[in-house]
Each structure stands twice: as structure tokens, then as C-alpha cells.
């Protein structure tokens, strides 16, 4: 078995060597979990890809494959990209983690960048954005805007990133409105307009008049618009076509600067495996325009919070904070460390319900 494996490895390496010869353009591949037209997560990654093309012009060639299921299919798509001479491959979904690591082992000369994961290697870097910083601003606005004191939250999967967002939004909504209550629906999807619309309708029927979403389609925005008196926030993408109502602001993922920088690094031969987790400060997380539906003083408060976070003066997870079960988490003035945040699997005190197991 080992001998045949070695042979196969050698054959692959040979194929790689021949394909890498005489290449003047830097080839950058992107693997997307959704369609580029989802208007949210994948759309923004594709905007990043287009920015790379616009920035480097003839010096780069980008390719992408969309709607790639996580697992064996992803591994095949990445291998095909590498075999066709890609120098740098961005894999843009958490579920691509193990496939990325597997393929990277076979192609030591190709650089890989995996979004939102935690496994790195010599030729695999990881990157993500501190979306929870944006959630803090969302929570502040939502806490002020709600009349019914019920805020609906369409969650995707119970993974640390999503739980972080819920906690951050809740903490800041509670801060400005002690009576606020969160209703959370788990949709178990990143992109499914029908399911997301249903979730939004259920939340609205249960009295929610502000809906936050951690799913990628615009369906909740449309559902809120149909219902009338409900506020929403754009997710991943600005979703400006729903402003000024129901969309009153948004969290925008801005991958372009990072993608351009990493492509440049590959061109210069200075690329090294990294673990990037950037927020509002470096511009990876953007806050979309807060519309005039929001009272001026609320808007000012939200923008002040944004500035404080951007300058590093304020951390959204600052004590005193307790966990849901009442046990202490952060002491007064203490801020959460990245390790705890990265693996966050608990609600903070005050949120009702359980994280699905």
C-alpha cells in the first residue's frame, strides 16, 4: 500500500511540475459554497475575486466554482484547480477545512487560504472576520428600535461564529433596553430563501419587530417588507435595495483588501501561512449606511460605538458578563480572549433557550 501511495504521489507531483512550468500569470482559484448570485456570503467573496482582477489586470487569472458541496466534492474541485496550475486557492466555507488540508498536503507548492476554520499548515492559512463587532452595533440599534421588545434572530448552524453573533447582539441590545428578549430560530442552512422566509414569518408572528439574520439570502428582508412594521439588517452584503425600510443598516463582509494583499504576497514570493482575524478597524467588517428611519441620537450612538471598536478602545465582550447558567465568565472590565471566542459554545446570561446539540 505504501509503495503504491508513494508512486501515486510522485505521479501527482510530476503532473504538478509540468503544469507549473512557463507560467507568467498568477492563477487564483475560489471555491464557493453557494451561488455567486446569493446576494450575501458568496456574492461578497466573488466581489473580492473581481477586485483582485481589477487590481492586477493582466497579471492574474481567476477561476471559481460555485455551489460546491462540503466534503468529497470540494476536495475534487480543489485538486482540479491545483492540477490546472492554480498558485493560490481561497476556500470560502467552514466545511472545506479538512478537504483543504488534505489537498494542500498533495500540492506543497500551491498556497491555500481557508475562511473561518482553525486548521493551518505550511501552505494553508486561515482568515475570518470579527463579525461580532458588527453585531454589537446591530444589537445597539435593534435594542432602541424594538417596540415589542422582542427581537427575532434567524441563526444558521450552532457553531461558535453564529453563537458569538447572537451573544454580541444580545449584550448590546440589553444594554440599551433591559426588557429586550431574543427569539432564536435555527434554520440549519446558510442559504435557503424558502426556509429563511418561513423563519422570518414565524418570528414576526411571535411578535418580533426587529429581525437579525445569520443566513445569506434576502428572503427575510422581503418577508419583513411584506409584514410592514418590521426592521431588518443586511447580512454579509449591504442589501441596500431594502432600505430605508425594512433594512436600517447592515454588516458588510469586505474581503477585497485581504484577497489583494494575499495575491500580492504570492506574486512577490513572500506568502506565509497566517491566521488573520480582522474586524471593523482594518476594514474587513463594514457597517452599511444607517437609514433615516433610525432616530438621529440612536444613529450617533451606534456610530460612536463603531468608532470605539475600530480604534480598539472598546471590546464587545467586556465584563462583567455571566454565562447563561449564571456562572461568572468575565470580571468587571475584563475582555474575552480570542481562544474562548473562537470556540464559543455557550450563551451569555439572559438569553432564553438552549443551543441545539
Amino acid at each position: 500500500m505504501t509503495i503504491t501511495k508513494l508512486l501515486a504521489g510522485a505521479a501527482l507531483a510530476l503532473g504538478l511540475a509540468t503544469s507549473a512550468v512557463a507560467q507568467d500569470k498568477t492563477k487564483v482559484g475560489f471555491v464557493y459554497v453557494g451561488p455567486v448570485g446569493d446576494g450575501g456570503w458568496t456574492y461578497e467573496h466573488d466581489q473580492g475575486r473581481l477586485a483582485v482582477e481589477a487590481h492586477f489586470g493582466d497579471k492574474v487569472e481567476t477561476t471559481y466554482v460555485e455551489n460546491v458541496p462540503e466534503g468529497a466534492d470540494a476536495e475534487r474541485v480543489m485538486t482540479q484547480m491545483a492540477l490546472q496550475g492554480a498558485n493560490l486557492i481561497f476556500t470560502t466555507s467552514f466545511g472545506y477545512m479538512d478537504p483543504t488540508i488534505n489537498v494542500a498536503k498533495k500540492f506543497p507548492n500551491v498556497k491555500f487560504e481557508h475562511a473561518t476554520g482553525y486548521k493551518t499548515a505550511e501552505n494553508v492559512g486561515v482568515y475570518s472576520a470579527r463579525f461580532y463587532e458588527g453585531r454589537a452595533i446591530q444589537g445597539t440599534i435593534a435594542g432602541h428600535m424594538t417596540q415589542s421588545n422582542v427581537i427575532g434572530y434567524i441563526a444558521s448552524f450552532p457553531i461558535p461564529e453564529v453563537i458569538r453573533g447572537i451573544n454580541s447582539a444580545y449584550i448590546h441590545a440589553k444594554k440599551v433596553n433591559p426588557d429586550v428578549q431574543f427569539k432564536i430560530v435555527w434554520a440549519y442552512t446558510w442559504f435557503d430563501p424558502a426556509k429563511e422566509a418561513d423563519a422570518a414569518k414565524v418570528l414576526i408572528e411571535q411578535g418580533a419587530d426587529v429581525i437579525l439574520q445569520h443566513t445569506d439570502s434576502k428572503a427575510p428582508q422581503a418577508a419583513a417588507q411584506a409584514a410592514g412594521n418590521v426592521y431588518t439588517f443586511g447580512q454579509a452584503s449591504d442589501m441596500a435595495e431594502f432600505s430605508p425600510m425594512p433594512r436600517i443598516s447592515s454588516i458588510i463582509d469586505n474581503w477585497a483588501p485581504y484577497y489583494i494583499a494575499r495575491t500580492q504576497a504570492v506574486m512577490d514570493g513572500t506568502w506565509e501561512s497566517d491566521n488573520t482575524w480582522d474586524g471593523i478597524g482594518p476594514g474587513m467588517v463594514g457597517i452599511g449606511e444607517i437609514t433615516d428611519v433610525v432616530p438621529a441620537e440612536v444613529k450617533a450612538e451606534a456610530l460612536a460605538l463603531k468608532d470605539a471598536i475600530a480604534k480598539g478602545e472598546y471590546h464587545p465582550f467586556t465584563g462583567p458578563l455571566n454565562k447563561q447558567d449564571g456562572s461568572p465568565w468575565l470580571a468587571d472590565g475584563e475582555t474575552a480572549d480570542d481562544g474562548t471566542l473562537a470556540g464559543m459554545n455557550f450563551y451569555v446570561e439572559g438569553i432564553e433557550g438552549e443551543i441545539p446539540q
Binding site: A11, Q80, P356
Partner: protein
């Protein structure tokens, strides 16, 4: 004037010819679609059908991948075809596939990190049992209460998906995964890993099992009394009853067998190409296999070929996205056309077209 005339007997020639005609028609209509998208249609068809098999640069990789992709499709479709032939409609193979993967992987993970030869065989048994039991639910409900197996088996897919999510987040979650969902990767556990039998060929136990299933189904349908009962029930249910076929037993057998094979497919996938239980583990093999079964005319050899063809369109479709920037929706449309044209030209098997001169009044 054209007139459709029912053939006294289904044409054997057209039964074999129609799938080929469907492929050719799909190529033509697909070519027009690609041309309308501003791509060179000949090049697009070449990338989808030719490059995965013969491109010098990467065919040595994509050819084995055909087997990896076709294996589960064939295995599930063979199981489904037994029931379909008898008029028993298991639409929930996707759910049985998930359950096979959960139970099989669960068995393997329970032994972690024990290094023993019997771990993998036990996982195979677990996978088969998981799929079989999940299919027994619609089977028993149908036998006992006369429920509709189409609805029950389909609904159980969604139950299975919820169970999969729960397993990824709870019971089977990787304890060293920092709280992220998904099980341990079985690729890192040699006793449980369904590796390629010969490196670089794509042949793993699941592909081998799929080929064995083709032979098994062929013998069953052509040489065995049970196979005869299955065919008879599908073609002439009343005659079958008079000749002493027990319909309930047949329901239990057909649904059970298709569940078992779907479960096996799930187990081989999770322990091999996929590697881990995760929320998005299932990618629709159970539904695509329905298309494969019909594309292969419910005949074991036909299913083998149809499975390979379907896998080719998947892998070629990815290449077309990669090399020609075709949107993935166009590829899905292309695959849909294949079934559409098959059903359309299927008419020719049972009917013939005659040119009739209009009679003067």
C-alpha cells in the same frame, strides 16, 4: 400528418436506443444553451464529456474520480430499481444513506482509537443495518396500515437530516474540534478508513460493492424466482397475486434491500471520500440515484452505465465551470435535460410514429 400508434410490444431496439438518443439530444439542446450564454458549444461539450476522460493534463486524476462519484449512485440506484420494478416506490434513499453513514461511522468512532481488523467490517454491518432499519419504517407502515411509502420514505429524509445535524453537533462531535460541529475525520483513523484499494484508481470498498450489487441484481432478476416475482408484480399485479406472490413480503424485501444498499453507500462515503459526519454530509446522492435508476431503464447493466454517465456530467460540469466560467445553474439545467429527453423519447419504445395521408372529406 403524424400519428402515434401503440406498438403491440415494446420495441427492444428502442429500449436500448432511447438512452443514446436522449444523450445526443441533451448535447444538442445543451449546446444551444451554452451558445446563448456566449460560450463555444463544441468546446463546452468537449470539456464536459471528453476532458474528464482523456485530457492529458488532469484525466489521470479525474478518471478515478468518476468511480468515486459513480459508486454510491450505482449502489443506491440498484437497490431502488428492485422496488421500482415491482411498483414499490422508495423515494427516501437519501435518508437511508444518511442513517447508514451515522450508524456506520458511530460504530467506528465508538472503537476509536482501537487498532483492530474487525472495526471496518463491523462498521459495514452497522451501515447496512442503519439504512435497512430506516427503510423498514415505511415498509412496516405500508404492510400494517397501508400508508403510502412514497410520502413516508420522503418525509423520513428530513427527519434523517435533523438527526444528522444533531449527531454532528452532539453525540458524534469531535471532542478535539474546539466546539466546531462535525465528527473526527476517519481518514486519520486507519482501522476505520475506507482507503483506495489500489492507490490512484479511485477503487474503494464502496465502488467494489456497487459492482458486486450490479451482478447480484442481474442474477436475482434473471435467474431467481424472487426476481421473477418482482418483475411480475410490476408488470401484472393481478397475475402475480394469482400465482401466489405474497405482496407484503415483497414490500419488505424491496424496501429493505434498497435501504440496505443506500445505507452501505452512506457508510462507504463517510468512511472514505467524505471522511467525517458533518451537518452537510449528504449531497443528494439518494435523489440523483432515482434519475440514474430510470436513465438505466431499471436494468442492472443500464444502471451501471447511467451511473458512470451521471458522474461524468458532474465532474465535467465542474471542469466547465472552472475552465469556461459556466454558471453552475447551467450545468444543473444540462443534467435536468438528460432526464427530460429520456422521458420524452421513451415514447418511442411503446409507440411508433406513422405518417398518415390526410383523407379527403
Amino acid at each position: 400528418m403524424l400519428k402515434l400508434e401503440k406498438r403491440p410490444q415494446p420495441s427492444r431496439v428502442f429500449a436500448w436506443l432511447t438512452p443514446l438518443m436522449a444523450v445526443v439530444l441533451t448535447m444538442i439542446a445543451g449546446g444551444i444553451l451554452f451558445a446563448m450564454l456566449g460560450k463555444n458549444p463544441v468546446e463546452a461539450i468537449r470539456v464536459i464529456f471528453w476532458d474528464p476522460l482523456f485530457n492529458e493534463q488532469f484525466a489521470s486524476y479525474s478518471r478515478p474520480q468518476l468511480l468515486v462519484k459513480a459508486g454510491p449512485l450505482i449502489l443506491i440506484a440498484i437497490g431502488l430499481s428492485l422496488g421500482f420494478r415491482a411498483g414499490i416506490w422508495n423515494i427516501g434513499a437519501e435518508g437511508q444513506y444518511i442513517l447508514g453513514a451515522i450508524v456506520g461511522a458511530g460504530v467506528g468512532l465508538a472503537f476509536y482509537p482501537l487498532d483492530a481488523w474487525y472495526v471496518f467490517p463491523l462498521m459495514v454491518i452497522g451501515g447496512a443495518l442503519g439504512g435497512w432499519l430506516w427503510a423498514m419504517i415505511p415498509a412496516l407502515l405500508k404492510v400494517k396500515f397501508g400508508t403510502n411509502e412514497i410520502l413516508v420514505s420522503l418525509m423520513l429524509v428530513y427527519v434523517g437530516e435533523q438527526l444528522l445535524a444533531s449527531m454532528s453537533l452532539g453525540l458524534l462531535k469531535n471532542p478535539e474540534g474546539l466546539g466546531f460541529p462535525g465528527s473526527r475525520n476517519l481518514k486519520d483513523y486507519p482501522s476505520a478508513f475506507n482507503d483506495e484499494l489500489i492507490a490512484g484508481t479511485g477503487m474503494h470498498w464502496g465502488v467494489l460493492t456497487a459492482f458486486l450489487a450490479v451482478i447480484f441484481a442481474y442474477i436475482l432478476l434473471n435467474r431467481h424466482m424472487l426476481g421473477f416475482s418482482i418483475r411480475l408484480t410490476g408488470e401484472a399485479p393481478r397475475a402475480a397475486r394469482f400465482s401466489g406472490v405474497n405482496p407484503n413480503l415483497l414490500i419488505l424485501f424491496c424496501l429493505g434491500m434498497s435501504g440496505l444498499m443506500a445505507g452501505l453507500a452512506g457508510l462507504f462515503e463517510v468512511s472514505g471520500p467524505s471522511g467525517q459526519i458533518s451537518i452537510d454530509f449528504n449531497t443528494g446522492y439518494g435523489f440523483t440515484a432515482i434519475i440514474v435508476a430510470f436513465l438505466g431503464r431499471l436494468h442492472p447493466v443500464g444502471i451501471l452505465l447511467a451511473g458512470l454517465l451521471m458522474a461524468l456530467t458532474y465532474i465535467g460540469g465542474e471542469l466547465a465551470q472552472l475552465m469556461l466560467s459556466l454558471p453552475s445553474a447551467a450545468i444543473q439545467l444540462f443534467q435536468g435535460m438528460l432526464l427530460f429527453f429520456l422521458l420524452a423519447v421513451d415514447l418511442l419504445t411503446n409507440y411508433r410514429i406513422r405518417f398518415v395521408k390526410r383523407e379527403k372529406a
